[in-house]
Amino acid sequence: MTAHLTAAEQRTRPAGVAVSDLTVAFPAGGRELPAVSHVSLDLTPGKITGLVGESGSGKSTLALALMNAVPKPGLVTSGSVHIDGIGNVLSLTGSGLRRVRGPGIGYVFQASQNSLNPLKTVGKQLLDLGRSHGEKNLRGLLRRARELIEDMGLDAVRVLSSYQHELSGGMRQRVGIVFALLLNAQVLVLDEPTTALDMLSQASVLEIIKRVHRDLGLTTLVISHDLGVVGELADRTVVMYAGRVVEEGETQGILRDPRHPYTRGLLAAMPRITGDLELARALPGRPPDLLTIPRAGCVFRERCPLAMPVCADSEPPDTLSGGRRFACFAAAGSAGATSAGHAETEAAS
């Protein structure tokens, strides 16, 4: 419906994304192993949402599902991904999907520093992207690319005529963002945008993400294993563990008062630049992979300092309390909040 709006109009109205009850499973040995299990999640329009999780938490699978691009043999077994102005992405196929990827959602892949074609200049690849989406106005496309590149503090002429190896890691990451935004995406998804970058490049890429997010009026999802990156960048934070959302809420609130023991553990395991180092605590155990995710009960209980008998029997339901959502029996008990019934306004819009 909104396809008739011009790009400029779209930009004034950021699109929201609503994921509900999403399950993505990978078949193995006759079973279906869920990498993402019954995840419901809203990306608030115009805000930066941070998605934190370790390897195997399903965060990248979830992000790919936003584009209906779950790699085979993965299969979406339940749920929907609704994007304003597009509808349920998971029901799209073929050319419908093509119109979503790029013009709808801009995606910056993990290790996108290495995802450029080494044999073509950046400019040629940008033109290829435009042509493959049937863009007629290639001159306009290049102009937009130039603007975006200059926005990121790079020399556009030089970048467009460069090959991959002539750019540093931080520069390539910026080029990856240019690719994602070239077709006027309203939703920007960045998968581990700063992994493999050093601190300085990371800081400048984070600054750039903040800037393009604000200037272009995007709805942004930043996926990272690093609570620091999300803490620096995101308005809202979602913590994933073993395919589940274990905690969600405003970033500052989560950092100040994490409710779920996993979030607490992650925060405590960060070496900090100030304060007493002896307060840092390692999390015991290791993150589970698809095969070792506990099949019944809470997925975190084996590493949890607060585990109770009930944790082994049933999966903790979502508890809503003060704009926060978390899935933990122990935390729910101490918060005094009730599950289900306490239907607070989770996300205002």
Binding site: A282, P284, G285, R286, L291, T292
Partner: protein, 303 residues
Amino acid sequence: MTAIIPLLPEEAGAATAPVRRRRRGRWRLLLRTPGRVFGFAVIALFTLMAIIGPYLYPRNLPIDPSAIYAGPSLAHPLGTDFEGTDVLALIVTGARYVLLSAVIAAAVTIAIGTAAGLASGYYRGLADSSIMRVTDFVLTIPGFPLLIVLSTVWDFGSPYSMGLVLGIVGWGGLARAVRSQTLSLRERSFLEAARGLGLPGRHIIWREILPNVAPYIAMNLLLSITGAIYAEVGLFFLGVVPFNTSNWGVMLNIAVFSAGAVTSPQALTYLLSPLICILLLTLAIVLLLNAVDEWFNPRLREI
């Protein structure tokens, strides 16, 4: 060094499958897909043929002038040749020469190629450049024409000499490939660590590098066996090597040039029998090739 530091053990043994028995797992790989079963069976059959075949028949195969180029019958399942000898007997007794020389050729190729490649990739410098000059020289030898020339002065009646010559002219490519693999492995940090720990060079070459290039070598072993089969059968077929031995190549030569098998249906089984054997054998080897990677790579083996 007695202090045992209390540490957070990172996961002890929860939810993990027992480590698989290695040997049995490996042999089972050969039988995992129907293609491999077929390949394995065909190779086993021909190997058996080569080993016991010559003992099944008298030294000089009986001739039967009354049944020249006879069609398949109960007495001669694959028909007979120009002097009435049973084609099946020819095939069975001929297998030894073909297989033995091919295996020898492959063994020589692998031995020289691997040693040269590993040494020049690992030691680099002077060793590398001198070995590679020799390799380049070997690579420039046109193998087949050389064999034709050699056959004028050398009797290839023995499979050993045939295999040796095929091997000696054929190791250049493997040496280059192993060298480049070794060079790229050299940059991996586990080799750097091995050097840093003071492990001796021969340990590093045999224990650290060789297992990592082994799939490559095994692949080449199988491919050079097929290559050698083609080369020697080709030599006999062209008739440049004296026929003083029963051999599939000799059969092909006679079938085509003397019996006119291409035009007359009479000698069809005489022509097809060795041809199909060669095809079966190479097909079997190719089918087994895809098991090689899993054989050597513990990561693939496990699944």
